[in-house]
């Protein structure tokens, strides 16, 4: 599904954020990307989601080489992903409902059908009562959950979440991980970057893969059961 072959990423005017990374993620896997701050987790996720392009090496998504995609087809590749950004990237000029509506409207889904799906997504992150609130009036954790609702509303086949529980307390974090597990259960590939490496006891019964990064190098890729 997603294959990295000898990928190196160097940002202009910076040292290498990723060095010679190779791995494969199969359809329906649950993958944790771990590592210290600045190790390259977000960079790895951005390369997977076709937001950045590798400096050298190849990134294959569904056997398509991301570097060789035409800019016209890029949007359609990106629609396969549900993305939770580390900095949320919410839109502060519209309420929660319309924030979640954005991916649907981009996919051309409007009207009643859209309304149902948006409310279902908000309900999953327990924000249904904040439907009409503006994101700026939400607490940090509420904003993070809103970002998650937006990522899942379009029922993506790949879910990529960058530190989705950094601002959440244990109870909510468990909740969200439950949600991700549920997605994995129905065949969605779930990729999560996190700094508190697998400290969540709730996940012990789910088989998952760990990609551990250290200063841009893939140190170990192990499967925990």
């Amino acid at each position: 599904m997603i294959t990295f072959d000898n990928v190196t990423k160097r940002y202009p005017g910076s040292h290498e954020a990723l060095t010679n990374v190779s791995f494969t993620i199969n359809q329906g896997e649950l993958v944790y990307v771990t590592g210290h701050s600045g190790a390259g987790k977000s960079t790895l996720l951005k390369l997977m989601a076709a937001i950045e392009r590798p400096t050298t090496g190849t990134v294959l998504i569904n056997n398509q080489n991301v570097s060789k995609l035409k800019s016209g087809t890029l949007p359609y590749v990106r629609r396969k992903f549900g993305l939770v950004f580390q900095d949320h990237k919410l839109l502060y000029d519209r309420n929660c409902y319309h924030n979640v509506a954005l991916p649907l409207s981009i996919n051309g889904i409007t009207g009643q059908d859209a309304g149902k799906r948006i409310r279902a997504a908000l309900d999953k992150v327990r924000l249904l009562d904040k439907e009409k609130a503006m994101p700026i009036t939400l607490s940090g954790g509420e904003q993070q959950r809103l970002a998650i609702a937006r990522a899942v509303v379009s029922r993506p086949s790949i879910l990529i979440a960058d530190e989705p529980t950094g601002n959440l307390d244990k109870v909510y974090a468990a909740d969200i991980l439950q949600l991700f597990n549920a997605f994995q259960q129905v065949g969605v590939t779930v990729i999560i970057a996190t700094h508190d490496a697998l400290g969540n006891s709730q996940n012990e019964h789910v088989s998952s893969k760990i990609l551990h990064l250290n200063q841009g190098r893939l140190v170990k890729a192990e499967v925990a059961v």
């Binding site: 949007p75 990237k89 000029d93 409007t110």
Partner: protein, 301 residues
């Protein structure tokens, strides 16, 4: 087809709801566009009215034919008949020497000066408007007329035509300069406004691109916005043009009475009104397109 319609109505709805949310701001911007657009529109209206007047004056009389003094009345009649037959003559006017003297009295604004004249020094005259105004036709007409009997002199009023043409030329030159300056200002105003809108929407544009919006999807609302600004600005411009010219015409009326002429500037008709609106709509659309393309895709591959 249906999805195409949905997309467009969605974009339009978005723009209209934003219009409503910032109504005062929007009106302010449209007014600025209207003002900028009103000036060339006023200029054009005034100039086209003036050049209509100039055409009138121009065709009033270009060739004067003076008969030799002490001519019998039937000479004038013969010349009249000859002029009526000549295809090159559009119209002509006969002024008898008595009338000419009266006119001279009026022109010098002093009835007493010439009242002491014992003998009328002025000749009978024909004032002729030629059909074709180009130099060659006028020259050949002049030669034809000079051949007629009993004619003292044929004078072509060339200097006057030259001067008038020159004045109109200057007016047009001024209009070209002012219009291009203002056209530039217009593009700058609309373009800046759209860029401001883009700045406000920068986050939305970025996020939309990241989660798979196509370029045309992002561009669409801004194009509608530009077109709407242009259209409303154009309507404001028309309104301002109407108001300014109406006020102007009132002043002109008083002056015209003073001059015993009946001149007023024509208000723009429906055709030129729609041309103004259409033009400003297009300017708005084009400025929006460039502003979007410039601001939109600079950081994202």
């Amino acid at each position: 087809m249906k999805s195409w319609l949905t997309q467009h109505s969605q974009a339009l709805k978005l723009v209209l709801s934003r219009f409503k949310a910032n109504l005062l701001n929007t009106l302010f911007i449209c007014l600025a566009i209207g003002v900028t657009l009103a000036l060339p529109s006023i200029m054009y209206t005034v100039l086209s009215s003036l050049s209509g007047l100039a055409n009138n004056v121009k065709s009033e009389s270009q060739i004067s034919v003076f008969l030799s003094a002490d001519q019998a009345v039937d000479t004038a009649t013969a010349i009249k008949a000859a002029l009526e037959k000549n295809a090159e003559v559009k119209s002509f006017k006969f002024v008898a020497k008595e009338d000419a003297l009266k006119q001279l009295e009026t022109a010098t604004a002093n009835n007493n000066v010439l009242s002491s004249l014992e003998q009328n020094p002025l000749p009978d005259a024909f004032f002729i408007t030629p059909k074709n105004l180009d130099a060659a036709s006028i020259e050949s007409l002049k030669n034809d007329l000079a051949k007629l009997e009993g004619i003292e002199e044929v004078v072509v009023d060339g200097a006057w035509i030259k001067r008038l043409n020159y004045l109109i030329l200057i007016g047009q030159k001024a209009m070209v300069i002012i219009t291009s300056l203002l056209g530039f200002a217009l593009v700058a105003v609309i373009g800046n406004t759209i860029r401001m809108q883009i700045l406000t929407q920068q986050a939305e544009i970025e996020v939309s691109q990241l989660i798979g919006a196509t370029k045309s999807f992002i561009r669409r609302p801004f194009l509608y916005l530009g077109a709407l600004y242009g259209l409303i600005g154009g309507l404001f411009a028309l309104f301002i043009t109407y108001a300014v010219i109406s006020v102007f015409n009132q002043s002109l009326n008083t002056l015209s009475r003073e001059y015993q002429t009946d001149f007023s500037i024509n208000l723009p008709d429906i055709t030129s009104g729609s041309v103004v609106c259409l033009l400003s709509l297009v300017v708005g659309l084009v400025s929006a397109y460039f502003a979007v393309s410039k601001s939109l895709f600079k950081n994202i591959n």
